[in-house]
Symmetry: C3
């Protein structure tokens, strides 16, 4: 992608918004690559929650222009043997620790190249053991934005050997599916691991019965306001194309007392 | 405003900061209009709270340069018959659902033109039913920033027929005014619907007696630090020119146990 | 620094993220200095907490490019006699109220010049008494970004007379040090006032005994993941070079029940 525009860097961390950690990473970036467009994905990933970061990256990266550099620092292993890496796909770059945060990217995108960020010429001169976001990851992203070839950043890595989390997915059962809550969003919508390939069946075919935390859901709507009332949970297609459970003008997670990872039983034709 | 600079887009949503929804809208924008300056107004509007978003937009838009495009997505009706719209004034553009979020703008600014965002050429190619911020509103704002004329975005609408919320305002009473808390800010300041036209009277004329949630307030100061002590609520002119109730180094909303919409009785000469 | 690039402004406030106050300041800035890079340090400084803002500014400013303008508005004295000021160092500009928020800068950087922001030509035409961030500080930062010389902004001030907070620092005791928690970060890490000059001794010399809130800490690690277990607090070098107390995958502040300012006793060779 040497000739692609690389003017945009996204940032995704668990650094929170009370400290200046994110601002410091941006300061490092604009010092190396002035004029770069910096876009926050989120900095409120729960501390050390690699799986949530992986999901957010998965569902957002397709909406960025080609050449975008995605900088993801959820890094409980900072300072340990886990490698800082950069990966390129035909459309984008990903700079992150090799801890599974790129699991969905590795599973769904062709990987052009992967490197360890081992070349000290592209680190900050002084390095801490507790903030590689500032000292290693932000400089790498910025140097990519400034046009440095990926291969310059360090030793090549075999993409097949990069860390992958076990990804949730629905399991076939006698009478339907056993699925899971992949993500709970700001509105309390429960986004399940029933993805675009199976969502149409659930949302437009024979009405299924969905049971979650002992509550049975049999309604489904095309959009939130189609629900005739507040307070009754229903199925809807989330903006990621996954099946979600929502409540009109309310918070389904709070109503149902459900957390990330909770199982759902989906059955067909039995209610 | 065809020749005006349109390099700035503001964003105001209830999407929160834990997800990447706002980042995704920005990705869509920079894909269409690279180099646009993106400024967040707030993404912590309470979910579905159109009135709060309307107030924030009202009090902030005058401080942006001419040609700014204000993108406001608080949209509980996403996917329903409510129209996505764009409106131009002599100074700015507003892109939002037609659900009342532009009520103050429609009430206080000359409307040059209004359109429904009905032209699919300016939508994302794939559209969800649950995230028009990404699929319709962000692309519209970005195309405006890129110089597309407003009229290209869709069918013209009659400004007089756009949705308006009932706006709070003080009511004249026998011995004074009945007013309301319009907004509670981050500091816990209670901003009332007694606006600039009446604020001078309250803040510099004969001292009024203000009663709110059974607490009587008779002090007023020009600025917070003029209050001689913490813990005693007083009247002050908010930065919007409205009368506010504040506490020095404290949170008036918490102290007074008051929520948005709470009534105040304002009387003159009776204490 | 007349010839230095001044294209970056950082923002640090206690304005929170629920209102549009920060967005309004940015609107004012881009109206005066379009194209400026705007980087948030934090807007979740606890209301009126000047010391926390001072610490965040201290630990982040070195990572920004030369010529950066740091705009810090934690300003409980807004409207009072406290002066709005701008200060230049060989590397940067600082625009803030004269209330101690620049204490670390004044203590550690050579001050080239300081002025009161007294020249009304560089204020907004209309001024409130409650939001100088918008009316005075943001315009000053923007005019600096646009190339206005510091001396134009107002009357010169004697740097030695600017407000300084008493800064925490460890006190020598018979058998060691009495230190303090300077800052608690988003992860719950306790950052102490034992700075880089003494950190090496604590972290690599004879193991000290640290007591905080009746808990004794004798472990120290180079990075979080080096700790063999969750739940046991240990010493580590924070990214600022200060000694910190942390818990692997946990929140040390919550575990230890400690707040900012809490004392630590550090002793050598007695456990």
């Amino acid at each position: 992608m040497a000739t692609t525009d690389r003017s945009c860097i996204t940032l995704l961390t668990d650094f929170g918004l009370t400290d200046a950690y994110v601002g410091v990473m941006k300061g490092v970036i604009v010092g190396i690559a002035p004029g770069t467009t910096l876009i926050d994905l989120s900095h409120l990933v729960p501390p050390q929650d690699i799986a949530t970061a992986a999901w957010l990256l998965h569902t957002s990266h397709p909406y960025f222009p080609p050449g975008t550099i995605h900088l993801c620092v959820v890094d409980p292993g900072v300072g340990s043997a886990r490698l800082p890496i950069a990966v390129s796909t035909p459309r984008a770059f990903f700079v992150a620790p090799d801890n599974g945060v790129l699991s969905y990217i590795l599973a769904s995108e062709p990987i052009v190249a992967a490197v360890a960020l081992s070349n000290p010429a592209y680190h900050l001169p002084q390095q801490s053991t507790t903030f590689h976001g500032r000292d290693i990851f932000a400089p790498a992203a910025a140097h990519l934005a400034a046009g440095v070839p990926l291969a310059e950043l360090g030793e090549p890595l075999e993409p097949a050997r990069l860390e992958r989390l076990p990804l949730y997915g629905p399991e076939l059962q006698a009478n339907g599916l056993r699925a899971h809550v992949l993500h709970i969003d700001h509105f309390g919508n429960l986004i399940t691991d029933v993805g675009p390939d199976r969502a149409a069946e659930l949302l437009t075919g024979v009405t299924p019965t969905v049971t979650i935390n002992n509550v049975t859901i049999t309604r489904r709507y095309r959009y939130y306001a189609e629900a005739p009332e507040d307070g009754t949970p229903f199925l809807v297609a989330d903006s990621s194309g996954h099946v979600a459970i929502a409540v009109r003008n309310g918070n389904a997670a709070a109503l149902l007392g459900v957390k990330r990872g909770a199982p759902l039983a989906i059955s067909y034709g039995t209610h």
